[in-house]
Amino acid sequence: MHVPDGFIDVPTSLGAGVVAAGAIAVSLKGARRELDDRTAPLAGLVAAFIFAVQMLNFPVAAGTSGHLLGGALAAVLVGPYTGALCIAVVLLVQGLFFADGGLTALGVNVTDMSVVGVGVGYLVFLGLVRILPKTRSAVVVASAVAAFVSVPAAAAAFTGFYAIGATSSVPVGTVLGAMVGVHLLIGLGEAAITAATVASVIGVRPDLVRGARHLQAPLDLRITPTTRPLTPGAFDA
């Protein structure tokens, strides 16, 4: 769902551009806190991952297929700032190089999907992780709900821009209904694949899931007294 040129008027697009630029500046700072000097290669590679995974189509129903947007997934896997930054970078690259999403609509697209999509997704995730028991399955459930909510939230944010700077006279209520309705369905697919992906990463490399950091037991050094002292030359043979 990339807004093209001409859908939102120029003043609103420029306003959204300012919001998006501010958000990118904040997430650049935040990502540096999350990743320190590894920011450039790691955020770049995670952005490349998001870009690739958005091409992974999964069948929904009746011959239609959907793909992952990845906002909530990125927030849970690499943290909110890096996640928002990666989604913004993907949108910038798609708009600038792939003609996917209008150049004047870049601000609207970044605000919808990176700021609102990742932000709402991460807040829902954080809230749920706080109240749910501290288990891996709770993290998976929380990421599913976060992904489900993040998609219609981004659609609602788009409708907000539409209400401010629409170039067409389709009533805002109709747009809100259609956008949120369709995106609730997309959200179901997003939730399923986000949860399954988080579950599979947690199963293999739990240390790579930032949202599951609180589950990691701190390493402790255990000293077991040995009954037989090692004799010099024991390993020479």
């Binding site: 590679l45 690739a52 190089f97 150049l103 067409s168 389709v170 293999v204 790579l208």
Partner: protein, 254 residues
């Protein structure tokens, strides 16, 4: 990595458009698209002129029309949305081929279709005539934050590697008789996505270590100087200049 193959978006050439400084082309493209969006939709001839201008640029740059047409397919989802507008807009109805349509809705649909199409073609021409790496250098030259440009550079450099990895995983799935038919195949695809994330992240860590061992201190050394002469700027800014003339004429006659 390290191989100097041009990206598939780039159509190699040595035309005037190809040789312009990337920063000049970026500024010209963005300015042109903003001016197009500002144009009142009811002046249909203005959009015909914009299309003509872009056709001239494409002809000068020797970008074949089929290439442009093929890449325009990204627009399709929004075309569907635009086509729904005449049915959803309240107000005056006009009869088109026996169907009651809203005239305001028809104009909205035309507005979005015309502006989005001109925007898409402009972006396609930019990417077709400018190497991706040059575009990134141009962005840096336009004072985009260095770290952001570095992240974009890594994304662009590695997106082929990651996409290829995904393709290999897909072939491996196919070779084992897997075909995604319905919702039950989702866990398999999610495992692939998870594996892809782990591989991408670990590759990022390796790249970081490789960079450190080559003396990375937070900024990338610049090897090419892309300072653009005034002639480049003048030539590139001719595009938005023409657009200003068309826009003014359209506003006056509106």
């Amino acid at each position: 990595m390290g191989s100097d193959h041009a990206h598939r978006l780039y159509v190699p050439g040595a035309s005037v458009v190809h040789r312009l400084g990337p920063q000049c082309k970026l500024v010209a493209t963005v300015a042109f698209v903003i001016l197009v969006v500002l144009t009142p939709a009811r002046q249909m001839w203005a959009f015909a002129l914009y299309a003509l201008v872009l056709a001239v640029v494409a002809a000068v740059a020797h970008i074949p029309a089929p290439t442009i047409a093929r890449r325009m397919l990204v627009e399709v989802p929004f075309v569907v949305f635009a086509l729904a507008m005449p049915f959803l807009t309240p107000g005056d109805r006009v009869e088109v081929a026996g169907i009651q349509l809203s005239s305001a809705g028809l104009w909205s649909a035309w507005n979005v279709l015309a502006k989005a199409t001109v925007g898409v073609v402009t972006s396609i021409l930019l990417a077709a005539t400018t190497d991706l790496r040059m575009l990134l250098l141009g962005l840096e030259r336009l004072r985009l934050p260095g770290l952001l440009v570095q992240i974009m550079t890594f994304m662009v450099r590695y997106s082929d590697v990651i996409t290829d990895e995904m393709r290999r995983m897909r072939i491996a799935r196919l070779a084992r008789g897997f075909e995604a038919r319905d919702i039950r195949s989702l866990p398999v695809l999610a495992h692939s996505a998870g594996a892809l994330f782990i591989r991408s992240y670990e590759r990022g860590e390796r790249v970081h270590l490789a960079m450190l061992s080559r003396g990375y201190t937070g900024s990338m050394p610049s090897v090419v100087d892309i300072a653009a002469p005034t002639r480049d700027w003048a030539l590139a800014l001719a595009l938005p200049a023409v657009a200003i003339v068309i826009l003014t004429a359209a506003r006056v006659s509106a």
